[in-house]
Amino acid sequence: MNGRATIDAPPTPRQSRVEADRVPRLLAGSDAPGSTVGLDQHWRRWGPLPRGIDSSFIDELDRSGLRGHGGAWFPVGTKWRSVRRSLTRRPVVVANGAEGEPASGKDLLLLTQRPHLVLDGATVAARTIGASRVILHVSAAAREPVARAVHERDRRGCETVPVEIVVAPDRFVAGQESAVVATINDRRPGLPTFTGVSPVRERGVDGRPTLVQNVETLAHVALIARFGAAWFRGVGTPESPGTALLTVTGRWSEPRILETPLGARLGDALGFPPHEVHRVQGVLLGGFGGGWMPTERALAMPLTEEVARAQGTSIGAGVVVLLPQGTCPLAEVSRVVTYLEAEGAGQCGPCVNGLSGLSRLMSLLASHPAALGDGLASIPVLCDLVEGRGACRHPDGVTRFVRTALQVFGEHAAAHLRHGPCAITGPPFLPLPSPHRLRRTTGMSR
């Protein structure tokens, strides 16, 4: 410890019982929309963070069954245990709220409206793995609110390790674990690196063992530290306990962020009226690195990562998009693949070449299907060639997006091939940053 006082508790802790089956959890409270929960209000709602958290908290995490909400759904206890503490190289905790996915907004919401849940979670992580630094890696929009929250805690002496803020570059791959470390180390910021020989958990920030954990995951940790694993399991399924934040586009006129118990049927979580199924062409789960599902199957599925993977997709970071009728799904998919190609780091040959090819083929399928010599056959071949061959998971996400699109919109694709592109000319639907923010990658084709 660095000699600073540790005062976790407010002067008069008044912790009311929090029912285990009450949802929302992270988003609980009747605050005015957009308002930030300050430290006193946070303490009134949740009580103080318990003292005496140490490495044994990992066992509690194991029992809780909490998995990472950044997109990989990796067991959190296992991850924390893998970050080795040594006497000479104390680990670093990174709370990751980069959220490069254009259709996701939940990390920004947490950081701006519930920052103390995230900061509590980061504090718990630092104490559990014996870290000497906490770094908040956040999007530019979150910087000011997060800085205010950190300042508030500093004044009250909450933190025992220094907390720093690093702003993530505004690009799709900037939240990938190795890219986060590159940004913090100020070495090719926002670009992933190859970690196959020495993973981030062993050599990350400043060469130290590093835990990179999504901010929503840390917010759940803040509640597990207070109420325990059994409480956490009060909602959800045995394999996927607890709740998840979803960013939903296409259900209401504006995107909304909501919290749902895992295992709930997606249609119930969205309050989707069954008789309106025909208004939706398909459901994108997990964002642009996730996959498409047929509408009825998606709305009926219990929302867990196991079920999503069995369906060839992933919950990812909790993005749900309902694609309405009146848009050409292939034109939508093509637009996104072009965006994803441009958002690649441009570092790995197979990804640079493969995504360029996929972008071209999907664009032809959308606009000039007659120019596709062998129909759709070359698209999965190209997907096979790209998968698993990047330093990060970006190419794998793109292929899943493309493959599932061809499955779900297969009839539409066949119609394009038979009759030419469809006449639907509605406005673009899938959320993308405005075109001026699109970068071209440095070419690497041979």
Partner: protein, 73 residues
């Protein structure tokens, strides 16, 4: 008893697709249509380890590495 398993990994960021590795170790490395190596993930048997080492050492970008794991059983 533990067994030593050696596999080859390529750092795709460093790799420029020179293709030397595929020439030196065709038993496990082929090239994709763009000239970048496709590496078999299976463990390299003892009698091929020399080839693997030579391929890794000859990479002009030092992008190829041998990964060693111990597996019990």
């Amino acid at each position: 008893m533990s067994k030593r398993l050696v596999t080859l990994v390529v750092d795709p960021v460093s790799c420029d697709g020179h293709g030397v590795c595929a020439e030196l170790f065709p038993e496990r490395i082929t090239l994709d249509p763009w000239g970048f190596p496709l590496i078999s993930g299976e463990a390299i048997p003892h009698h091929l380890l020399d080839h693997a080492h030579r391929a890794a050492e000859s990479c002009p970008r030092l992008a190829l590495a041998l990964l060693e794991r111990r597996v019990s059983g």
